[in-house]
Symmetry: C2
Subunit: 194 residues, 2 copies
């Protein structure tokens, strides 16, 4: 998606350790018009899939998810992140390891908001090692809910998350796919997947 | 706002200790169409105030804030909540006490995203004791930014937050104002302020 790739090139910065920082339009300051464009794109892609609910994780997945939810006419549920080992009543909970923070935390979703009749679209801001998406998939499995698709804003295609998702066979749309990211800059995968 | 009051009456539940739970459309599961209606209402109220930026706090303020931001054509910045005493580089940070959780946490906003040229609209999901809004006001003061208005989704008018805000003289719009909340139910303040 050109609009997003342009925003990443113009506004993103590459930090030490090849971390992409997009705090100025996605992860801290949010550009609402861009978020609407992202959400609309997810909704277009998954419009005919019979989606009943969108699942995301707090915090940065929420903005694109609510715009997609508005277009698809379905509610958005965001997983809450907690320190592990908190008592969780009436919750589906899964442990997620963060490579960036080098700690585990829990993602929890109330049993009131996910059921076997749900056909879910997962949305998240980043796909890198696939930990958050794997956690959401695990929660959907616990709930007996089926997963119709996965929508990612920025995919670091050189990390293992993409492969993990592909092995599930679940359709995925990543709006920007980064092939490489280092001190020399950032290269996107083109429309032919190269 | 009738649409919101109806949602609170139909979908909200009153928990022990007179806590209002609105997890099914605002605080965990999000109703995107309702969030758009709330955001549009904030945008209408503050349309001619020269707003340059919306400030909110993660997590539940984000959805109504992005819709308001879309309408007003301004970015949204969400304050991050952290355990206190974390080292915060390049951040405006303030400590906020949660009466519900009985702990203090920090709200932080990057200095990159708030400056003396900003004229800010603060948006949050709840106004009760006014701790979060006071924290955002304190951050705006540190940044030298002026505050044009405050938009609240649900105000517990019987707690001290409303009075704290009124004493600042900053215009406030609360879309639902709860006069009382107990085992007998919930009563809203009507349009005449009674």
């Amino acid at each position: 998606m050109k609009l997003l790739e342009d925003a990443i090139l113009e506004k993103g910065t590459i930090l030490e350790g090849n971390v992409l920082k997009v705090d100025n339009f996605l992860n801290h300051q949010i550009d609402p018009a861009l978020m609407k464009a992202l959400g609309d794109e997810f909704a277009r892609e998954f419009a005919d899939k019979g989606i009943t609910k969108i699942l995301t994780v707090e915090t940065s997945g929420i903005a694109p998810a609510v715009f997609a939810g508005l277009e698809l006419g379905v509610p958005v549920v965001f997983g809450r992140k907690n320190k592990s080992l908190t008592l969780q009543d009436n919750m589906f909970t899964t442990s997620v390891y963060s490579y960036t923070k080098q700690t585990s935390s829990d993602i929890s979703i109330s049993k009131d908001f996910l059921s076997p009749t749900d056909h879910v679209l997962l949305i998240d801001d980043f796909l890198a090692n696939g930990q958050a998406i794997s956690g959401l998939l695990s929660i959907c499995k616990s709930a007996g809910a089926s997963v119709a698709g996965i929508g990612i804003v920025i995919e670091k295609s050189f990390q293992k998350g993409r492969r993990i998702v592909e092995e599930t066979g679940i359709p995925i749309l990543s709006l920007a796919r980064i092939k490489s990211l280092d001190e020399n800059g950032l290269v996107f995968i083109d429309e032919e997947g190269q």
